[in-house]
Subunit: 121 residues, 4 copies
DNA sequence: GTGGTCTAGACCACT
DNA sequence: GTGGTCTAGACCACG
């Protein structure tokens, strides 16, 4: 976890789980670390993890079995992908396009820069 | 101003000024609305405008003449463009690329969606 | 059992037994499944079944014969009905009436909707 | 607030606001008590109020103006009514119907009891 | 002043 | 053991 950024910790955990589902590191039906375990792993207060899990549950990514723990829900991967794509297309993309216009950056220019960046990492 | 978003209002003003400079709506050497005027226009607390102006001044976009007001600095347009491009290329672009990868979005797909969005404006 | 609801599992079992008594699926004097059997059937922790049985015993619905098992008590059906009716009339009905008032739902409207719902079962 | 019930306090506050909107005690566009004010009124921790407000905002009942406070949203009344009606019809009504069946309570019986109850209160 | 987040620690119901 | 709620108190960004 990155404690020195603007992004709330609970959101960082939320995103982490989503990403691990998209990466197949967490597969549908498996149990995810308990609130307390995750809190210990992340060096974070259990309440903070709780909040992330609650939001994930509200979106159908996690399901809960009482007294047992949280599990990756069925269709979690599809849902996660849909959520992310929607966010990207609806919120981020328009901002990007608008900014490129005012800055006079073209798509061609962009695609020339990208190979350099992705080649390094 | 959009009061119902997460983006701080002072940042919205900051961005607005930058954009107007890039659009030549504000040209170098002209006087920009006073803190109070701008606050009245925007239906916003003067403190908020003050903060935006202060940050713009720190970046050399605005210059202050005490008792007279704020002026668009020399080279403001070039500076604004440099700031924005740098931000975009160094910070935003890598995030975008990374996200597109995990979401499986291609550049071709993106360019198909964009005309629809930009066609509206 | 429904693990994904807010209703405690032990209460779900409690309700199930009551309902089966009212439906004559469980008749007075018969032996009910042992805690372990029921737990196995329901895919549930024996403690959970135990709790349901204990509460049923406290209300006189079940009687326990040590070393043999639990039995449906004499007058179980009458008791079950009394408990339920009392709960319904004293606790639930006033809440329902109050809510219908604030929502502007009439009894006529309700009875139009119900056939649709009950027609399915 | 009722601290001795099963119903979480934050939900009680949530419901209270919804009810006051339905009662026209809170009208669209007005500012609702700040988190801290409400917390003081209710003798409750600010975090608890915060949670209620956040959920209300997520449902579009409240809107937020940064640094100013929460306001009753446009269409709040209609939304509140829709939420409540949906809950009632989808969740509560089927339970009621099912219970009436097993208890052998008829609608006629019900409507005879109700005038007595509502007459008193 | 406003809301937003986080921690530490507690208590509770449930399995 | 599990999660759910709550408190007290703190710190922060924003207006």
């Amino acid at each position: 976890m990155d404690f020195n950024t603007q992004k709330p910790i609970f959101l960082q955990i939320y995103d982490l789980v989503l990403e691990q589902i998209l990466n197949n590191q967490l597969t549908e039906g498996t149990r995810i670390a308990s609130v307390r375990e995750m809190a210990a792993n992340m060096q974070v207060n259990p309440n903070t993890v709780q909040r992330a899990y609650t939001e994930l549950q509200a979106k159908g990514i996690l399901t809960q079995q009482r007294g047992i723990g949280y599990f990756i829900g069925a269709k979690a991967k599809a849902t996660a992908l849909a959520i992310r794509r929607d966010e990207f297309m609806r919120i981020q993309l328009p901002l990007i396009v608008r900014q490129m216009k005012t800055l006079g950056i073209t798509w061609e220019e962009l695609q020339n820069v990208i190979p350099v960046q992705t080649g390094i990492h």
